[in-house]
Symmetry: C2
Subunit: 586 residues, 2 copies
Amino acid sequence: MPEYHAPLREIQFVLFDVLDLEGHLATLKRADLSADVVREILSQAGHFAEHVLSPINEIGDRTPPALTANGVTVPAAFKEAFDQFKEHGWVSVAAAERWGGQAMPFAVHIPVSELWCSSAMAWRSATGLTEGALLALERHASRALQSRYAPRLATGEWTGTMCLTEPQAGSDLALLRTKAVAVGEDLYEISGTKIYISFGEHDLTTNIVHLVLARLPDAPEGVKGISLFVVPRFREDGRANGVKAIGLEHKMGIHGSPTCVMEFDRAQGHLVGHPGDGLSVMFTMMNQARLGVGLQGLGLMERALQQSRRYAFDRIQGRALSAKSGHERIVHHPDVRRMLMIQKSLTEAARLLIYDTYRLLDVAEGTTGADAQRCERIVAVLVPIMKAMLTEWGMECTSLAIQVHGGAGYIRSTGVEQWFRDARITPIYEGTNGIQALDLLGRKVLSDRGKGLAELSQYLQEHYLKNVPRSLKDLSTVLKAHLELWSDLTKKIGLKALLNAEEIGAAAHDYLHFSGYVLAGAAWLRMATVATERLQRDPESSYLKAKLAAADAYFSGVLPRAKAHAEMAGAGVKHLPLLAAEDYSS
Amino acid sequence: MPEYHAPLREIQFVLFDVLDLEGHLATLKRADLSADVVREILSQAGHFAEHVLSPINEIGDRTPPALTANGVTVPAAFKEAFDQFKEHGWVSVAAAERWGGQAMPFAVHIPVSELWCSSAMAWRSATGLTEGALLALERHASRALQSRYAPRLATGEWTGTMCLTEPQAGSDLALLRTKAVAVGEDLYEISGTKIYISFGEHDLTTNIVHLVLARLPDAPEGVKGISLFVVPRFREDGRANGVKAIGLEHKMGIHGSPTCVMEFDRAQGHLVGHPGDGLSVMFTMMNQARLGVGLQGLGLMERALQQSRRYAFDRIQGRALSAKSGHERIVHHPDVRRMLMIQKSLTEAARLLIYDTYRLLDVAEGTTGADAQRCERIVAVLVPIMKAMLTEWGMECTSLAIQVHGGAGYIRSTGVEQWFRDARITPIYEGTNGIQALDLLGRKVLSDRGKGLAELSQYLQEHYLKNVPRSLKDLSTVLKAHLELWSDLTKKIGLKALLNAEEIGAAAHDYLHFSGYVLAGAAWLRMATVATERLQRDPESSYLKAKLAAADAYFSGVLPRAKAHAEMAGAGVKHLPLLAAEDYSS
């Protein structure tokens, strides 16, 4: 079974050396979370991830949940891990104190969550989605509903789901048909079929709380007619509530996560928020939900990198190009180092970027004033990039891990192929990456005439390009040119979009990718700057020197992709005419 | 079950309109194969692929071969399809007439093989590998061995395998340990363990012929000590021959192909060729074996494209960016068209390029004189590019097909996820793509000082850039610049490699990718030229107009990748230092 090692050194470098976590926690007035406390939390979480969660990851893949006469059951090991997760208090780290949670800010909670994603991504969905459901109730439900559900979700007594998708309504929720009919004061009966519901049913807990999008009888068509309801699996009187899993999807990966077809047949539920607010309530959870998927990408990248590194330093095969004889560990082959370096440079940049996005979210949500609003706007731009790029990189890095292993990478027992299969869902769920790209370019950048982007650029100048030492001037010059190109490209597409809105759709994918690679360049410039500073105090640190090497490798071996994406983003919709169906393929 | 449609219109466009198959068959003196005969062969093969093979593809994935007390058994449907494949004569299309085959040139045989790869790739390995074993015997075995084995392999009475890899010897065959000991006149006993043996054991046929690399007792170390032996599963007297499958790998994909761990325990065999010739005999099969994997990539690309197109024109979701209301088939979204167009442009370019490579192989092997030698050298350069790029594109296009489907793409019953899993082996087996890249840059390009590359470039000028109409001048200017860059890049890397051979390894991956994208550009220029000519006669053809659109989309939406690869290939090994293991990841 492949081992997982919690990357605490790296996480602490990002948190303490790069992101000034202590200053951040002071801003949030969280003196209770000293550096020592945070280190201890990370250390204990690492131990849990390594010893409890990592071993069940493969079990979930091999013996997936099953639909039985008594509903969906999960592997016993999943239940045991869940119970321990509750007992150790991990389930409630993010929840508000009034519900029994520990109210940790994202900046602390998210590094911990990364460990769960790395060690048991499919299993983690159960608690990850519960956090989302809790958040929706906390922000929009009545006090009565909150007191009924929130403490149980916060402590892991029950789990929560998000029931959005229907067979005919995926990316396009305007098409959804599930009905809600009032049957009493604030009591509704929900009927309809929902698909792709992760942990829609299971035997981890005694009850499950579904958040369900549905239409009231008099609701207008389209998204304005969608309302949100909370529907428990079992009613307060203990009786079953007309909601059950009627099927489990057979999927390529995340086998450990039961993906349910849920049938609601006059299931009793309560309205959350106002009629017609369903989608906007969902949108308040969108940032966390989408960043959560990006975090899954990071988790898989880290795990794949560890396994690649281990194999590259272990496997003996071939001899060096410069050698006459003798067999080498494969890391001595430059092409293997190339693959490792792409993995390292993407993984470590991804970690800094998403941690910082969450840090900004802490400021946006945990403070008030102009800076909070500015951070909120920057986060809005970053979210689709983080969701899409970290999942694209998750696919790339798990694929590279397979390639480093050669034939062994294709064999199940090596582990990497599972992570590759698991990774393939992440560019799809919580809004496909195509939807993220439209969200970025259309809603987040162009609709406010580039203001959010300008603020992000300003933020990068202030926080990522500050104190750049002379030794990194070359990299910083390259990066500045890319930041200018970003602005120019935005204007160019924006002008074209005034004439034809389809230009946004044609450019969005490559625009998003360009943005992601520039951000990762900024991340490497920042990490290299910090490493240079620290090397003055610690000149023999191979760890810090490796940071400089990775920054250099990123700029020469990955960043060139950015310009290609800029060129493709600038090409325009005229190159994408609609052909007749039979002319796409014979 | 996802349907497959044999793309005969497209295949015929490439064969007759672009590659002048009739002229080629005249060169080969194959007047028996008229255009009508070839069309009839393709039509019948298409029918077989659609109706017999396509339905078993999913069966192999769901109910893979099993290791039983009587050896490895395959699904009954596999056996039935195999028997029909024999009865219809498809098994013997490539084999020499003296063994009962039909001796079809590659230019005819390969389009037929593409259909097998698209419709049932895992199943196809059984006969594909048999063709390779037959070829090795035909070229290197004694007459006695040939007459014993060749007719049975040619007619599908028996199948053949290639037993190369051992646990410690994958890319590096110098490390192999299997022993051969002489026990009589031209009789040897082979002992050792081989892994990753596709169809190493099965119940499709009554006997299996293993070609096995092993060392004689007095053999020198390294690759010069490797000899090739032919070892049947059952001896001539009908007794079992000390060779059996002792395990089946559990893999990510190609479940229908039994990947066997084979134990040879004093199995009787005969020497093929001379002692120590094992690797060079294997190398004579290398072109076909590697191109065969490239063809698998093409097969999956085509199948994925068909399914993507079908879904994009069927699924209704979202409204057009330019529309106020109304829901659209998703092909109306530019980002979906972008994904379809990448698939179309890569698939159709890949088809032309690999068909032409095989056509050149026909000339190299079926004619004599200077032109044959020139074609052989061009093929030598093309083979690693075809193997690697068509398999990279196979991964990309099957992944795009998943993305076009959204959530449905991740579900097994849609089919595309199987093709994506199947595709993931192709960049690994028959020499990883990293090995292909080294082969291209080191052995094929630099070791003869760029002569083969210059001949390829000349060939492209003469055959792909000829008769370019004024309307395509822009594309042709861009392509010529890329051809010059190819030459410049080669010189630049070549000079660096004189000082440090590791530069080859550092540059090889991106050099190969650059080469692939330039070749695909040449393919599109050629197809666009032909389409422009034909449009003069057939001005309303949407098919021909779609070719022009795809050429345009390729140049604006895919070719920009080439320059990024050139930049990365030029970066140099100095950006890939060897770090300490713990500094690649914490």
